[in-house]
Symmetry: C2
Subunit: 203 residues, 2 copies
């Protein structure tokens, strides 16, 4: 669409527009914005991207990390009895932001999704089992999305783990805090009635 | 907002979220997308940004260029009698895309806007006069935005150029192609009546 004689600009535009949600016009706008910045800012932008190559997966929980063991796994003050199984690092961030969980994580790297060609062997399930075998884990908390794929993965993990001496739990599904009952979809509302909890627990 | 233990990821997120229209959450999504790409793609993304430092302004028209003289100015098949004055390189692209102009450009680098602290001396107006003095220019076509600032700049340029032996014109303002008369604002519609053109010209 854009007819630009500069190959350098075109290359930068192509880079930005390869990102999700950024079209050619937006990409050009971003490049022009960068061009108006100081030389140092452009160098630092480029190097911050190149440094992404230095990232590792934590060798314990498979969260992204600057070091071999991530900051969470390296923290000895957390509760080693609990492992929270999540899909990816965004979920780690989301749960950390609640400050309600003090155990360790295990990042599966996705959920079972035959339609996307992702089977159990593409996920870090064997690594999870190994961790459970070689640690003092008492509870595995499954915090996967409440989608078909998430539920399939939950069930697969449950079958794999049920013979180990660990408690297997899943995060509560129910009516969201601040939601109105008459606007809640019937599946969620139905589950929230079936899985009702003692009122004292909400105090 | 995001609590991420990786300094590397945080730095890349900060880079992206320094761009206009990209918040922290979007920036993180873009970084995670990059991380899923091949090593070569990340290197090429970073280098495409670093190469922006190699860009010049064309020493004739002040368009962005990979070389000292931009591709348009280096093309001898264009009509040297016409110079089209534009605000920035986006306008060059827009006019080039119409394929209706075969002369050369002059990129002012902005318009006169006292509120933003941009005066005539911040624009490449003297360079334009120098070009007109030292070339066979016959017509200067002003293609600035039809805003207060654009009109001010048009008028300033007109006063500066009127004593040179060049025709000074401005792009037509009027009802857009495909627009309905009764939805056109009255200023535009008024101008389009005052500046009506011989019907034969529209054929």
């Amino acid at each position: 669409m854009q007819q630009l004689s500069s190959k350098i600009v075109n290359k930068a535009v192509a880079s930005f527009s390869s990102l999700p949600g950024i079209g050619e016009k937006t990409a050009l706008r971003l490049v022009l914005h960068l061009l108006r910045k100081d030389k140092e800012d452009i160098v630092s932008f480029a190097s911050s991207i190149e440094q992404l190559l230095d990232l590792h997966y934590c060798s314990k929980c498979y969260n992204l990390s600057d070091t071999d063991i991530c900051e969470i796994c390296a923290n000895p003050n957390r509760d080693e009895a609990k492992i929270c199984v999540v899909e990816d690092l965004l979920d780690v961030i989301a749960i950390e932001n609640t400050t309600q969980f003090n155990g360790y994580y295990h990042v599966l790297g996705g959920v079972i999704s035959p339609i996307d060609g992702i089977g159990p062997n593409d996920l870090r399930i064997n690594e999870l089992i190994e961790r459970i075998e070689n640690s003092n884990t008492e509870e595995v908390i499954m915090a996967l999305s409440t989608t078909l794929e998430g539920d399939t993965t939950n069930f697969y993990l449950y079958k794999k783990l049920k013979n180990y001496p660990v408690k297997i739990s899943t995060i509560a599904r129910g009516v969201g805090i601040g939601d109105e009952i008459n606007y809640t979809d019937e599946v969620t509302l139905g589950k929230s009635i079936v899985n009702r909890i003692p009122f004292e627990k909400t105090l």
